[in-house]
């Protein structure tokens, strides 16, 4: 399977028990799209991102990736797609504290039973240089600050050059300068053909995206730049 990551969400509906989180979510995203997902706290942005990367399933609706119906795939197949084609940056980027930063970054490779090839090593070093993590590669990840953890999570998600990058508040714990570097990096990934969807509360970050969508309980709504 070779993906270009064209996403089609149709009538996506999500409930927890009797509580409706959101319904009638429609989204079309193509390779190279850079989308900002906005919305109030608790509206379900993280849940929607989890659905996009297959960590959660929609209660109903259709989710097609390059025309393939993801909702009908088994968890094993979805896990394989996530491992090979998706990069996910969680809001509180989790790490394995007893391992080094480098081991933490390379986890997706070990799970995919791959080796760290020279090309990937060079890419990892480039990412670390740009996000100022090179000196920390041999350090135990448990000793990192919140901002450093977020950058480790970002590099881990980008290492395999995924086709779909989903990020939940990727700049939440970063200073403005580092946040700009992160957005620039994501922009470059878009230019190389990846689809990027980020959830954010930051006006500055949203302004740098191509599309801005607001999630409410009734679906996704396009926003004008002036409304942001």
């Amino acid at each position: 399977m070779h993906l270009v990551a064209t996403i089609e969400l149709e009538q996506i509906h999500k409930t927890f028990g009797n509580k409706i989180i959101f319904e009638q979510v429609q989204l079309t995203a193509r390779a190279g799209d850079f989308i900002a997902l906005l919305g109030k706290s608790g509206v379900g942005k993280s849940t929607l991102l989890n659905i996009l990367v297959g960590l959660e399933r929609a209660t109903s609706g259709s989710y097609q990736l390059d025309g393939i119906e993801i909702t009908q795939k088994t968890t094993k197949e979805i896990a394989h797609i996530r491992s090979e084609y998706f990069g996910f940056i969680a809001q509180h980027s989790p790490i394995i504290p007893g391992l080094t930063v480098q081991d933490n970054i390379c986890i997706p490779l070990w799970i995919g039973k791959r080796r760290l090839h020279n090309e990937q090593l060079e890419f990892m070093m480039e990412l670390c240089n740009r996000l100022d993590l090179t000196k920390l590669l041999r350090q135990k990840a448990g000793r990192l600050s919140g901002g450093e953890l977020q950058r480790v999570g970002l590099i881990r998600a980008l290492l395999k050059k995924p086709k779909l990058i989903v990020a939940d508040e990727p700049t939440g714990a970063l200073d403005d300068e580092t946040a700009d570097s992160v957005i620039l990096l994501l922009r470059e990934m878009c230019e190389q053909g990846a689809t990027v969807v980020i959830a954010t509360h930051s006006q500055q970050v949203a302004n740098q995206c191509d599309k801005r969508l607001e999630l409410t309980s009734t679906g996704l709504h396009a926003l004008d730049v002036s409304k942001v």
Binding site: A79, E84, P94, I96, L99, I111, K113, R156, D168
Partner: protein, 427 residues
Amino acid sequence: MKIVYLLWKNNRGFHMLHICLATIFCFLLILMAMNIFQSQVELKATASFKGKNLYQLADSLYNEKEQQFFQKKDSYDILKGFGDYLEQEDRFQYAVVNWQPTQVMDFKGNEVFAAYYELGEQVKTQNFSKSTYSEVKALQMNQGAFEVFQVRLSSGDSFQASDYIYTSSKDQIPLILGAALEPYYNLGDTLSLRLYNKAITGKVIGFAAPSQTVITARSYDTLLDRYIMMPALTFNEITPSLLQGQNDSPFLRASLYSRINGFMFTSAEPQEMRSIMSEISGKTNFYDYSIIGADGGILGMLIQVTDQNRDLLYWTVAIALVVILSLYLWTLSMHIRNNQKTYAVLLISGYRMQHIPRLIAIQTAISILLGSVLPVLLFSLFWKEAWVLLLSYIMLVLLVTVLLTGIIYFSSRRTLDRTDIIQQLKG
């Protein structure tokens, strides 16, 4: 496997603790396996006299009575004939286990083999012909004793029928050594003995398996491990040449005595037993003995004590196993709760939720297998001959590993279901 290794690195302390617990667990398993094995041996040994009565035969030839008896020309023949009848009688099983220390030249063993070590005495030594002899534990046993007590050998051969027959031309007797003597002697070694003051050579033809017991006049529970076992000797006929040597006569006399001071296992009641013995006395013209009766209660008590000891050990080991297992599961549950972020990393990197309990189960299996190595090594060092037991232990470890891995797989699935890791990825 790379992920298993990385997670090992991440939680070294926890995994070391689990290996230690697994080691203790496996030691307890070994104890359990040994207990089951030993119980089987004891039950097998006691099975042959379960429900039977025990009678002990004791001659009454001492002081003047003895002198008078041996004034008879055919006294030796009478004793031999009486012993032969006892051996051949099929209305009871006749077992001779004569507790009789023997002197061994240049004995290689330590003080635990001293005849009276358990009473606090050191090895007694005596010099004969410029050589030093040590007085050590020994038993003279007939074929019946080996059968009644089901004595097993770990190596070598049992006594043959001809080994029980002594002739004046015979200068060597076979010996079976207890398991504790195995480090000191080898099969084929010869020992210079003095038995009833007669110098005789013993050749090691076998070693008894460990932890076997027999009944002797001194104790109902004599452990064979520290004993030298020799055949209770008899003679084809009492030839003049046998009586010629200065030392041969006491040797001959004592050997004949030892053959008639044995135990009889039978379902016959005392009245019936007296009638059988009167019949044998009439045929052999030997009346100088008494029968010490012990009803089935004593043997029943022995079996009961064996059962109780076994049950007590079972319970102790079982409770210890439950405690260790609970500790294992509790620490594992804590470990799962403390490693949610680790599992979250695996999930967002391409693992499925079902992978994680499997990963935990694999880690458990590895720690149990690693924990079982030390007990196996120690066991192999000290119980070389019990390969059946070793095999049973390995099978038991594999069975427990499979069972425990299954339990841990399902319990970790339940724990993970209760703690929604995906939810924790959200803000």
